[in-house]
């Protein structure tokens, strides 16, 4: 509970219409896309301007109130989970596109601008904003910056961090600073580079300058059907070894194909492993590269390979892929979605081990992954109504992450650590590594009020409880689909 005086200060900062304290309204903010973890905040504020945001964080700094920023609440690791003693800062009212500079391929937006709206704004001028998380029709740039969001096309185009040039940030002390620069290589430490992906623990960004990219002349998508994941994996390695860098390379296993087919009917071939390869660029180059890609798929035993013929068919192919998580609900009443990364060549080995681990527990694991960069999204299927099965599923999903680390990989490729994987971060990094990160954290946030109790392992907790995945309200409503 916040005192009446503090609430008055917050009201002065954002106006009466920008402050929410009613319990039933606060419940809207109790979770993000990881809906298993819930906590009702003491208040929600909705600033309209940077000045209001600064005033709000000033109140938090003076009274030592924890805060967490929130865009659309689509995050999958509990990063926007509120602290019940703290406030949520919603960016729903900071949605202006501030400046568009096509000659220099830059755009400046407020943190609450929706990812897809950036691309929409620059499409008439032949450009797009490259990072494309599957929730891009609803998720905000501010949230993308916090999580360093990826997407299927980051294989070629890079992640959010490669596209953020400059940030206006309110520090947890209430000071306003500018990190990075619209030009490359501004003198000083690369604070923008550290801020992106810091999951809200270093302050709150109010606006950012992004790089936009020229739309490619041609795009082609290939669907190739294989008899095993391992064969599809080898095709991926061969494509990379042939010096081809596709825009995206995705693999789905039989279970994932069935789920996607049932959900959106993308007309995928029925097979053990489906490989989607998108190649883009100058038309003549795309034709030649795609010819090579098809040859390599056939050499690895693809028994069907066809190009999506039209723009419409291409959209449908991607819709099926992006719907895979939500569609898993058709296979099982409950499931956990994970986000491990492994070196690409370990793919067949790790998947075999995952299958063995799953078989030992009696649970099914469905696999969807960004094969080009070794980012696995295993979906552990289970039924909560069977006593003990949820614990088994959680344990299995954590052991899969540990397996990724054991093979030289990472516990998260794009979903973030958040609340969900704090303990796993301690498995991936040693104490001195984490201590060094803490030095940065303490430089930005000496009072530990900016999204506290996230990312870093908490020694006082011995075990880690991960959340089961349940569809976000936006997802069940069909507004968004998640990776």
């Amino acid at each position: 509970m916040l005192s009446a005086d503090i609430l008055m200060e917050l009201r002065n900062a954002v106006g009466a219409e920008g402050l929410i304290v009613e319990r039933n309204q606060l419940q809207t903010y109790e979770c993000d896309g990881l809906a298993a973890l819930r906590s009702v905040p003491a208040a929600v504020v909705l600033p309209r301007t940077t000045a209001q945001l600064q005033a709000v964080i000033g109140v938090c700094a003076r009274h030592h109130i924890p805060f967490v920023g929130r865009g659309a609440g689509t995050g999958l690791s509990g990063g926007a989970l509120p602290d019940d003693r703290g406030i949520v800062i919603s960016f729903a009212r900071m949605t202006k596109i501030l400046a568009t500079d096509i000659p220099n391929q830059r755009i400046t937006v407020e943190a609450g601008v929706i990812n897809a709206h950036v691309t929409q704004r620059v499409t008439p001028m032949g450009h797009f904003y490259a990072p494309d998380p599957s929730s891009q029709t609803v998720c905000t740039i501010g949230g993308n910056v916090a999580e360093n969001s990826g997407g299927a096309h980051c294989l070629k185009y890079g992640f959010t961090t490669n596209h953020v040039l400059a940030l206006e940030v309110v520090l947890p002390t209430g000071e306003l600073v500018h990190l990075g620069s619209p030009t490359l290589d501004a003198p000083g430490y690369d604070l923008a580079g550290v801020f992106v992906g810091s999951e809200g623990t270093l302050g709150a960004a109010s606006s950012m300058t992004l790089r936009i990219v020229r739309r490619p002349e041609t795009v082609q998508v290939l669907l190739a059907a294989f008899d095993s994941i391992s064969a599809a994996g080898h095709a991926v390695s061969d494509i990379i070894a042939a010096s081809i860098l596709p825009a995206a390379m995705e693999i789905m296993d039989r279970l994932a194909i069935q789920a996607a087919e049932a959900a959106v009917h993308p007309h995928y071939p029925e097979c053990e492993a489906l490989l989607l390869v998108e190649v883009d660029g100058p038309a003549a180059e795309v034709d030649l590269h795609m010819k090579q890609v098809r040859e390599l798929c056939q050499a690895n035993g693809a028994w069907e390979d066809r190009l999506a013929e039209s723009e419409q068919e291409r959209m449908l192919v991607w819709k099926g892929r992006k719907a895979a998580f939500a569609a898993a609900g058709r296979l099982s009443p409950d499931y956990i979605v994970q986000d491990g990364v492994i070196p690409r060549t370990k793919l067949p080995l790790v998947l075999e081990q995952v299958a063995e681990m799953a078989a030992a527990t009696g649970l099914r694991v469905c696999n969807v992954f960004h094969a080009g960069d070794g980012n696995l999204h295993p979906l552990v299927l289970y039924d909560r109504s069977i006593p003990g099965q949820e614990e088994v599923a959680i344990d299995l999903s954590m052991r899969i992450l540990h397996l990724c680390v054991d093979h030289g990989g990472s516990i998260t490729g794009e979903h973030g650590v958040g609340r969900e994987k704090q303990q796993a971060l301690g498995y991936m990094y040693s104490e001195p590594d984490l201590d060094t990160m803490q030095r940065v954290r303490c430089s930005f946030d000496p009072e530990n009020i900016s999204n506290p109790d996230k990312v870093f392992p908490r020694p006082r907790l011995c075990g880690e409880k991960t959340g089961k995945y349940s569809p976000h309200p936006l997802e069940t409503a069909g507004v968004a689909e998640f990776f």
Binding site: N148, G188, S410
Partner: protein, 394 residues
Amino acid sequence: MLDMSGALAAIVGPEYVRGLGGAVAVAPGNTEEIAAVLRLAQENHLAVVECGGGTKQGWGYPVAPALVLEMHRLSTLREHTWQDMTCTVEAGCTWAAMQSGLAQHGQFVAVDPLWPDRATVGGIVATNDSGALRQRYGGLRDLIIGMTIVLADGTIAHTGGKVVKNVAGYDLHKLMIGAFGTLGVVTSVNFRLHSIPRFMQSFTVSAKSVEPVGRVMLAMLHAQLSTVAIQLRGGVDGFDLDIQLASLPEVLATQAGALEMLAQSEGLRLRAAADEVWNARQGQLSADVVCKGTMLPSEIARFAARVRGLSGESVTQAGGIMIAGFPAAAAGQLPQLRRELEEASGSWMVLKQPAETKLDCWGTLPDSLPLMREIKRRFDPERILNPGRFLGGI
């Protein structure tokens, strides 16, 4: 008084400790020895300068070291998992040695820095050098996926990892890039690799005045071409735009035609360029005063002309990173040029100048400077690592 040489010899062996002017030079053989040397330095408040090939030691404000940490014994390309297109290389390895190792599998770190034969990975990272290839592949911050670093108190920390896609924890390695060694000593770096393009072609478009060349450059940045490198050179004879394409041979022929049309639309002629044009930047570094400017792409032509007007020469690469050389007589004009650049969202760093010139190296300090100082304080509280070399006295 402490027998510094003796204490260092106990860590690295006597053959790797020597006097160097008024300082002691020490050449550790591994990360653990570096940690022990730094602990010793911190306990004794000794200013430490890290040194690789020594090619850029003059950049930033000068430091009078008590200890010179020589990195040449950490020179191994430790791992090249070519199937995964990643590598781990020690910081004292020269850029060229690393690239020749990677080339055995047709791969490279897609950066073309200054003096690759002598400059080391660590020094290139510390100064955030890049080159014309940045147009296609991005800079070091886009290609480094992990690091091992040693902090001033001897803490050995690993950051990032060996996979390209990884959002676990903070990207500490980005903090080390361009930090001029003021936050820690980088001992090894993990890179994301690319395939060396098999078919490349370079072209040049030249003109007496900058305007038509500048317009062709902007058009090229927006064209559907397989561009890997681009640079604008400004010198006594006028302005030259170099562009390098990489694709399949059939495609290159078509794109060369498209380039020709672009040039002709400004009444200019496209001609094949020699590979040496891509080393042109190194020529500027012998001037009396050398500066690095950053600017938006649309400002490149204007500032290239400004530099020429001050009797300087410049090479601007990758959409807005300029290296410019001037005669000493032009130094007085440079603060005004810096103001103009800063007003246009750019920056102007003085890399090299005669001792008597005394130009400010770094320019207007950013509003995030207090934050940078706080990070420095927590990483290096005794200020032993390159003290005073960086902006704002860091």
